[in-house]
């Protein structure tokens, strides 16, 4: 009978999703702002 430790697995899977999706969204927003700024300041 395997030990009952599924809560740790759920925590790790949830944390990974939050970190990766959060970072990807933050990076896309930063990139969009930087491009808008570069385009605005172009002659």
């Amino acid at each position: 009978m395997p030990p009952d430790n599924g809560g740790y697995m759920v925590a790790a899977y949830a944390a990974t999703a939050v970190i990766l999706v959060g970072y990807a969204v933050m990076l896309m927003r930063r990139a969009r702002r930087a491009i808008e700024r570069a385009a605005r300041e172009s002659p």
Binding site: P3, N5, G6, Y8, Y13, A17, A31, I35, R37, A38
Partner: protein, 231 residues
């Protein structure tokens, strides 16, 4: 011109990242539904399918920083500096995944969240070194100086990577020895090995996608920075 190129990098990177995130959802299904549960460790062992690919790709990212840093010092090509900076930031994000999932896995298996053994301590040092790398880049305003100084830090970080891989052989440690990246055949049942390799590939796709977006961001920032300096 650079804003157009930056936009193309960000679009391509976003598409690759979205594919990677959807594939990551597929890895969750594959690991949770179609991969057997290990009898001694129970469900906590399934953390392995995220922790190990995140660690491999974080080490790959830090190796890219070091290699690009070394090549930049030799060739003085701004693209190498941009790629190094992008890879460092994504490596730190993957490092956060590695250092979050590791202790969550360690608690039910080792009975402790953390232990100061060689593998864990060296990995934490490497992570802090690249956090320092990003802080150094943020603190320096002269682009040439920033690229040169950070290249040296990147090369020093690269020197730690083989020590981390070999630390489980060189020192007494709680951390398991490599079960795939070793001279002999992988010591893992085929279904578990398949899930691990699929996950590693998906993390690699995410790494490439995120680095491509970050490269476009760096290009756009350099464009604005150059104009502000010229004004």
């Amino acid at each position: 011109m650079s804003a157009t190129a930056a936009r193309a990098y960000v679009r391509t990177g976003t598409a690759i990242t979205l594919v990677g995130l959807v594939a990551l959802a597929g890895v969750y299904v594959l690991a949770l539904k179609f991969t057997p549960t290990e009898m001694r460790q129970g469900l906590a062992q399934k953390i392995f399918y995220l922790h190990v690919p995140a660690a491999w790709n974080a080490l790959l990212a830090f190796s890219v920083v070091g290699l690009c840093g070394g090549l930049f010092l030799w060739l003085n090509d701004r693209r190498l500096d941009r790629l190094a900076a992008s890879s460092a930031e994504v490596g730190v994000a993957l490092g956060v995944v590695m250092l979050t999932t590791g202790p969550i896995w360690a608690k039910p298996i080792w009975g402790t969240w953390w232990t100061w053994d060689a593998r864990l301590t060296l990995t934490l040092f490497l992570f802090f070194l690249f956090v320092g790398y990003l802080a150094l880049r943020a603190a320096l305003h002269d682009p040439g100086e920033r690229a040169r100084f950070s290249a040296v830090v990147g090369v020093l970080g690269l020197l730690l990577v083989p020590f981390i891989h070999l630390s489980v052989y060189l020192f007494r440690t709680l951390h398991p020895q490599p079960i795939v990246l070793k001279p002999s055949a992988p010591s893992l049942p085929p279904e578990m090995l398949r899930t691990l390799l699929v996950s590693a590939l998906v993390f690699l796709v995410l790494f490439i996608g995120l680095v491509t977006i970050r490269y476009g961001l760096a290009l756009a920032e350099e464009e604005t920075e150059g104009r502000l300096d010229a004004a």
